[in-house]
């Protein structure tokens, strides 16, 4: 167990190094100079050179790279060009906003998925099952930039029941989290369903049934608990996917999270913020996967044995 963990940890470090290296080199090969966008094209060249020197752009590439890695190890993602604020400080509040949205969307989709998963497993092979299958594939096929505007038009513009934008009240969570969570809900309802169907075929379920327990009691008490394991894996990985999904959702609903920060930074050519956001998202994604993996190892005896 310990050696597996150690191995995973070494892998993690390697992956983090890879992520940061890719981001670093991408950033350095961009056409155009950041000095122009901050100081203006018509600024004197002396000031531009001074500015570039200040942010270390004048040093040879390998020196910049070493410095970048060194700062990264110390948890320093650099500074914003326009305001000189620490990127970490800029990212943190935005990350919290994204996590708020993502967690609400996550809860929403888990509840929905469990419900539909149970519904279709209980009616395995019947028309309700087939209908939910079709419906969930349809839901997966509708990306957030279709669902979002439709919801917005219907519920904010026409019916005026939910706020148009922002993150100020409970009701403002409704539309963004449906937008963000719908395809995850559809996807995981299928996972839960197939997990349930598998489990329902096993001996102990038959025993439970033969003991005279009602169908729904068997489903909820025995089967669901065991079917959750495969679903947990998928859901854990999807938490990371939700994070990247927030970029589009935040853009639609004007949510001040990490995703809209990335897009703002793209427009302002704040390289440090872009790479900071990309790295943070990747790290969260990797950690989610790792956590799922470890949980899976700890609690599933079959995996533990191998």
């Amino acid at each position: 167990m310990f050696s597996t963990l150690l191995k995973r940890f070494i892998q993690l470090i390697f992956v983090l190094w890879g992520i940061s290296t890719i981001v670093f080199f991408m950033e350095r090969f961009i056409p155009g100079s950041p000095a122009d966008s901050i100081l203006g094209v018509d600024a004197p060249d002396v000031d531009k050179i001074a500015w570039l020197a200040r942010y270390g752009f004048d040093k040879p590439l390998y020196e910049q790279y070493i410095l970048f890695l060194k700062n990264l190890v110390e948890g320093d993602l650099g500074k914003s060009y326009a305001t000189a604020a620490n990127v970490t400080e800029i990212i943190l509040p935005r990350l919290m906003e994204t996590l708020r949205l993502a967690s609400v969307a996550f809860i929403f989709s888990v509840l929905l998925a469990t419900f539909f998963g149970l519904l279709s497993a209980a009616n395995n092979g019947k028309s309700i099952d087939k209908l939910t299958a079709i419906f969930s594939l349809l839901a997966i096929s509708a990306p957030s930039f279709i669902i979002g505007p439709i919801l917005m038009w219907l519920f904010s513009v026409k019916l005026n029941v939910f706020p148009l934008m922002g993150n100020l009240s409970v009701s403002s969570f409704v539309l963004p989290s449906i937008t963000l969570g719908s395809s995850l809900a559809a996807f995981s309802s299928r996972m839960i369903r197939s997990g349930l169907v598998d489990v329902l075929g096993e001996d102990y379920i038959r025993t439970a049934k033969s003991k005279g327990l009602s169908n729904s009691a068997v489903l909820i008490h025995h089967a669901l608990r065991n079917a959750f394991l495969p679903a947990l894996t998928v859901l854990g990985m999807q938490l990371g996917v939700l994070l990247s999904g927030t970029i589009i959702t935040e853009q639609i609903f004007n949510w001040p999270g990490l995703g809209s920060l990335v897009l703002e930074a793209v427009q302002q050519r704040e390289y440090n913020i872009i790479s900071g956001c990309v790295m943070i998202m990747a790290v969260i994604y990797v950690l989610c996967n790792l956590a799922v993996d470890i949980l899976y190892r700890i609690f599933d005896p079959r995996v533990r044995a191998t």
């Binding site: 892998q11 390697f14 992956v15 983090l16 890879g18 992520i19 890719i22 981001v23 991408m26 950033e27 090969f29 961009i30 056409p31 299958a133 079709i134 969930s136 594939l137 349809l138 997966i140 096929s141 509708a142 990306p143 930039f145 279709i146 505007p149 439709i150 917005m152 038009w153 513009v157 559809a186 996807f187 309802s189 299928r190 996972m191 369903r193 197939s194 169907v197 990371g240 996917v241 994070l243 990247s244 999904g245 970029i247 589009i248 853009q251 639609i252 990335v262 897009l263 793209v266 872009i274 790479s275 990309v278 998202m281 990747a282 994604y285 990797v286």
Partner: protein, 285 residues
């Protein structure tokens, strides 16, 4: 063996009306997408400013957008963009992913470790994040979109193929071929490869849908193909500005995108069921 699969495939297909409908929808869109590529006349969309923002009518079945361009023609051209981007991206991904996965799975050892680490790193980025970063750093354009999406797209194929090769490497008929003196290359592509075409086809179908969504998503964020190409995502982006005043503008591009992606997903699902009846997942992974 092959015949068996074909028969099985058509059986499933016949019993599955949804897939038949999907197939015809897809065929329809492919035909639509080819029109502007073949007939240049349709790829030039006249700008008639005096007709801006008119609702669907007999002259303009799908309305006119904020630039005075016919939404019908725009959707048609958007279809070709989607077709080109998705085919090229999936093609490029296969072109890179198959040899990479095959080498990693078959040769093993250091090659495997090296390729697997690259895969690990690329998989560490949540979907769409790396393409967004690439587009943000290097700017829009058809080629850039294909590159950005392929750079992350090949990984899933490589992983799939690697796994399959690991399994088949140990099979008897391969070991036998080895002992008969067949070269690695021959074994890889003559003996093993035909066996893994079916999971590959399933994966490719789902990723066509995925690429179409990704391309539209990038364009929706303003980071996709440039102004000289029409993209459904771009249409949705500009339609969003008129959501309060001309909501119909968003309707038809949404419908187009949705119908194509849903059809691809249904066909992929149907393919998956025919090749591997036990798997009961849903949609693209």
């Amino acid at each position: 063996m092959k015949f068996y699969f074909a028969k099985k495939f058509f059986q499933t297909f016949k019993s599955d009306k949804v897939s038949v409908v999907s197939f015809f929808i897809l065929l329809f869109w492919i035909l639509i997408a080819i029109v502007p590529i073949v007939f240049r006349k349709f790829s030039i969309i006249p700008i008639e400013l005096q007709n801006r923002l008119t609702d669907p009518s007999l002259n303009y079945w799908f309305g006119v957008d904020g630039n005075g361009q016919s939404v019908g023609l725009l959707i048609m051209n958007g279809a070709s963009t989607s077709l080109i981007v998705s085919l090229f991206t999936v093609g490029m991904s296969l072109l890179v992913g198959i040899p990479m996965g095959a080498c990693a799975g078959f040769l093993g050892g250091k090659v495997d470790i090296f390729i697997s680490r690259i895969i690990d790193i690329l998989l560490a980025f949540p979907p769409l994040i790396l393409p967004i970063a690439i587009m943000a750093f290097f700017g829009g354009g058809l080629l850039n979109v294909v590159i950005a999406l392929s750079l992350t797209g090949w990984v899933s194929y490589a992983r799939l193929i690697r796994g399959q090769f690991l399994i088949y490497k140990e099979r008897e008929f391969i070991v036998a071929a080895h002992s008969l003196g067949a070269t690695n290359f021959r074994i890889m592509f003559k003996h093993i490869f035909p066996n893994i075409i079916s999971p590959l086809a399933v994966q490719a179908t789902f990723s066509l849908a995925g690429v179409i969504i990704s391309e539209a998503g990038l364009s929706f964020l303003g980071l996709g193909v440039s102004q000289n190409h029409v993209s459904w995502g771009g249409l949705l982006n500009s339609a969003k500005d008129y959501l309060t005043t001309n909501a119909t503008l968003a309707f038809f591009p949404s419908l187009a995108l949705f119908s194509v992606v849903a059809s691809l997903n249904f066909i992929g699902e149907s393919l998956r069921l025919s090749f591997d009846p036990k798997s009961l997942g849903a949609g693209r992974v």
